[in-house]
Symmetry: C2
């Protein structure tokens, strides 16, 4: 038996590999990656704040610390022949598909990057889905981390995947439509379309984890050795808001809140994200298309800035909070209400992280790498933003 | 001023070119095609029932009959550089995007064809959208023919693009979700996602014509000369149900109704499809994402078979109607109710075709080409269907 993890070199993928190897000691855990994330971050001139070693060394250290069931294959999932060979070789009972170009701003640099993002992401997913069909693996469970961003900013409360509708006296259930606000996020709406179709046509068991903003530096398993650390991005393109704020604070750079900071966003700590993905790997095939909103709840952007400021003060680090015009098309005061009851009940019954503990851990774990943050602090914000006037707070 | 027509060599595209040249004599009508449809049909071993001449000859004859404003560029829209050059050269005020690999069964031959279909279709649309942005053409109107197939088979009546929803006491409007039943149709759901995003991010004026099953052989303009004929496909892959039935009847082959024929499907005659696309080219930019269900109404599959049988009898041609197991995953008795009031009011105030006249014209126009239909009659149904037992009628 095998569990396949795509994006195994990634921020979430690597800790998932480590945890799976402990939780499923009798199964082969097969990671796949093309090291795209390392290249993209290098391309935009940034670096992981926590030093990460090569996959070869990661695996060596993991084996030394008791993970003897990990394998890794380098390859590109958008290459159909590679995926076919992968399936023929390992015949996974579970596919955890975490691989993607995940940066909205990167996808919007120009049309070429928008193309690359959507083609890379959708071709990978399509090859993985069709590969299951063409290798007689439709009894497998296919898990993908999409994004809470597929929902957009509707005027209604956001359900876990499906909408009840009534028209002309008839009632029905439809899948929630793709209303994402970026070309990256929309690539995941395309994926959702295809996941829905694969389930409908082939009765493939699909679990769609709509991953929220994921923050933090470590998990239980990555702490066993510094060489097991997962990457930590803090730049404008690949650093999510919480992680970027923590890095800005430590670099002595003002935290840049877009707009008034009134937005609340669904979030999840890295440990909770990893735990719930591992929980998904335990589920039996049920021929359903199950959608979970992978968030432990909403957090306000201003609240995060304030939290970092106050933890910074405890640590003796003064933190300034600035407001800049919002570069994204979004509703400033939108209070996203996103249901997550099924997710919390079925996949994360024991959440471990609260936002303030998460911020404290993050700041403390990053502290030894302040020099890196300082060296790359011009990567926090793209040039065109720096040229604008700050807005009132 | 220029109007760009993609898929200009296609079944609908070519008659659109001819009509535009008459309706907009002072504008340049620029057609683009990579002749994909000619290749795909050849690849699956079929042919157009009505003989079609080369694009070169088409244009020559069109010029002789008074269309002096037609241009044509051969090229592949999935090639970003080609699209950029096209826009830089012609700077169209309207883009009529009709190009696509449009066959559901072709898209499902295997994963390679599914990939090709979705990548070809979505990359073309993405290049056309981003090209407008990157060439400062966001004042243009972008019209795409998607498909009524994006709606799937919901339990509710199908609106023209948008759904009103209520949850927890809040009301909102969302776009209707992508619930297509094939990998081709889903490529158009992906396109809808991107059309929505291009409108939202850039305020691009978008008109999404959800094209129904389009039937018929001719339009007013194609009748001016036999060399102006548009293609007519009748094979399993590229022949839509009405056209395939007409061809089967003339070939002395039983009409093969899938299942019990209880399905009603939204349809539109070729002339009406062309007229409404030309009407869309007359609309001013309004920064909206307008969706129209491009159908003059639903027609029953059995009704078509019966109609052909009775017109056949008038013409002295005996027609047999058979029922075969449905190869598609769909609800047998689904009576699709699809709203089309806005379409009929705004884009097709004067429909010209009723289904029985359409069937009669089609049978009469195909009659001279019975030898072609007979020579290719093994293309009506794929081999695996022929091996199954017929079902009760």
């Amino acid at each position: 038996m095998a569990i396949l993890v795509t994006g195994a070199d990634g921020y979430i993928g690597w800790p998932v590999m480590l945890k799976l190897s402990r939780e499923f000691p009798d199964e082969r855990i097969v990671g796949v990656d093309n090291f795209g994330r390392r290249r993209w971050v290098e391309e935009i001139g940034s670096v992981s704040a926590l030093p990460i070693v090569s996959m070869e060394e990661r695996l060596e250290v993991a084996r030394e610390t008791g993970s003897s069931n990990l394998s890794f294959i380098e390859g590109d999932l958008s290459d159909r022949a590679f995926v076919q060979q992968l399936y023929a070789t390992f015949r996974p009972r579970v596919v955890l598909h975490l691989a993607a170009q995940p940066s909205a701003p990167y996808s919007e640099i120009n049309g070429e990057r928008a193309n690359y993002t959507q083609e890379n992401n959708t071709a990978s997913t399509r090859n993985l889905l069709w590969g299951l069909k063409e290798n007689n693996l439709l009894e497998s469970v296919f898990v993908e981390t999409t994004t809470t961003g597929v929902y957009g900013q509707p005027d209604i409360d956001i359900p876990e995947g499906y909408l009840e509708v009534e028209r002309n006296g008839k009632r029905g259930t439809v899948i929630y439509p793709g209303m994402a606000g970026s070309w990256y996020h929309m690539s995941k709406c395309h994926d959702v379309n295809n996941l829905w179709l694969a389930n409908r046509q082939w009765k493939l068991s699909v679990i769609d984890l709509r991953t929220a903003i994921t923050y933090g530096t470590t998990t239980e398993e990555t702490q066993a050795d510094p060489r097991l650390a997962t990457r930590f991005d803090f730049d404008f393109y690949f650093g999510v808001v919480v992680n970027r704020f923590a890095a800005q604070a430590l670099a002595g750079y003002p935290i840049t809140v877009y707009g008034k900071g009134g937005l609340k966003r669904p979030m999840i700590g890295l440990q909770d994200a990893v735990d719930s993905i591992v929980a998904a790997a335990r589920r039996e095939p049920d021929q359903k298309f199950e959608i979970f909103n992978q968030t432990s709840g909403p957090v306000g952007i201003q609240e995060i800035a304030d939290g970092i400021q106050s933890i910074g003060a405890e640590m003796g680090i003064p933190v300034q909070v600035d407001h800049l015009p919002n570069p994204r098309v979004e509703k400033e005061e939108h209070q996203m209400v996103m249901e997550n009851t099924r997710f919390m009940t079925e996949l994360l019954p024991h959440p471990t992280i609260d936002i303030n503990d998460g911020l404290r851990d993050t700041l403390q774990n990053l502290l030894p790498y302040r020099d890196t943050l300082l060296a790359y602090k011009d990567r926090f914000i793209p040039e065109q933003l720096l040229k604008r006037e700050p807005v009132a707070g």
